[in-house]
Symmetry: C2
């Protein structure tokens, strides 16, 4: 994708503006997700409260970028490749906004969890899942910023690790709940957080699919990815 090949200097600027704003929104969403995870893991109620109440900034950016995209299409009547950019942006920001929602949910549960004793048995699994998800989000945004399809495919291939980690954590939590029924409420809140982390991973994956659609003009959503991944990562033995 080369933005900046238009004769109209203004049009180039408009497309570049949209891209810059998406990156800005991405950075904001990433920092919200990071802080939500930090609040969860470090049981920091104050930080959790801050995250739980700053969602509106992300929401505002989504509405503004949507509006900008609609205006550019109406005014510039973009040709196919620019149009793909604009449509992909409209989709990417929907996923970004929903990542923001999930971060807010994690923060809301973290406020309550911070008031109770920690569940030390699952700290390391939860830490591991968080790291996986946050790195997936980071790299998804990076693949969008550079329009790097190799990276996008690599991020998509990491999805199955997240499912595995989530299953591990669920098993731990079920054991923990069975040990003492007083643990149930607290363990459920942790499961909700893990579910939200899993969703952040799914949205990151969606973003990568839009990057590939954008660059290759090829829609890989809902197709059998195994084939594409096997082609790109012949030595990868993960499923």
């Amino acid at each position: 994708m080369e933005i900046g090949h238009h004769i109209s200097q203004r049009y180039n600027q408009e497309l570049e503006d949209i891209r810059t704003r998406v990156l800005k929104m991405g950075a904001l969403v990433e920092s919200q997700a990071e802080e939500a995870v930090k609040a969860l893991l470090e049981r920091d109620g104050k930080l959790a409260k801050k995250v739980a109440s700053s969602d509106y900034k992300i929401n505002r950016l989504e509405v503004e970028i949507d509006e900008e995209c609609t205006q550019v299409i109406a005014r510039r009547q973009p040709a196919a490749s620019d149009l793909r950019l604009v449509i992909a942006v409209v989709k990417v920001i929907t996923d970004l906004e929903r990542i923001g929602d999930e971060a807010e949910k994690i923060a809301t549960y973290s406020i309550k969890l911070a008031k109770k004793p920690p569940i030390s048995a699952m700290h390391s699994t939860l830490l591991h899942l968080s790291e996986l998800v946050l790195s997936m989000l980071h790299d998804a945004l990076d693949s969008f910023a550079r329009m790097d399809t190799d990276k996008a495919l690599e991020v998509i291939s990491r999805g199955s690790n997240i499912n595995r980690e989530f299953d591990d954590l669920s098993r731990l939590l079920i054991t923990y709940m069975m040990e003492d029924s007083h643990n149930i409420k607290r363990a459920l809140r942790v499961i909700w957080c893990a579910r939200s982390l899993e969703r952040i991973g799914e949205h990151s994956r969606n973003i990568c699919e839009y990057v590939i659609f954008l660059v290759k003009g090829k829609d890989i959503r809902h197709t059998d990815l195994q084939e594409i991944l096997a082609e790109h990562f012949p030595d990868d033995d993960s499923d």
Copy 2:
């Protein structure tokens, strides 16, 4: 929204085609959600398996409609109001596809739940939540089909009932888990289904917001809806 006001008969036809396909996709998604719920409530493993394996039809429709929208924009360079339609369609079908995903998840859990004895204590609450969510989805699709903003607003106002029902069900399930730790796994699967139902409600709400955006040209996402709702339903005492 009046489709059909263009001098080009073909262009009218193209917009009408897109609309028809979205309605077709909506009907398919609705029937998937209904069957998933039926499989869950009636513990019908066979039906659950059928639902869990027919997601691909919905996914295919999403990709096709996306493609059609991109082509119409590229070819017709639509004016503002038609453009709003196309952008709203691109957003609506993303939500429809994700409702399909949630129906698939409910079906997958239902396969396992059907093999175990029923949890009779929560049947009526689960039934109630399902009915609420399915009627919300039905009416959201209806508001899209007729471009009926009053109905769209009314559906949005129902969102808080779903949260209440979900909380009731969670409380019941926690009690049930505390009674006997052998219930935990089964109860968790029911909670996952309830969560998916809740998400279907959220996506239905999103669809209604796009209908309002489309007709009124007014973006009500992320704004304080209470004001708008109070204006429309002055006698409604629900929050």
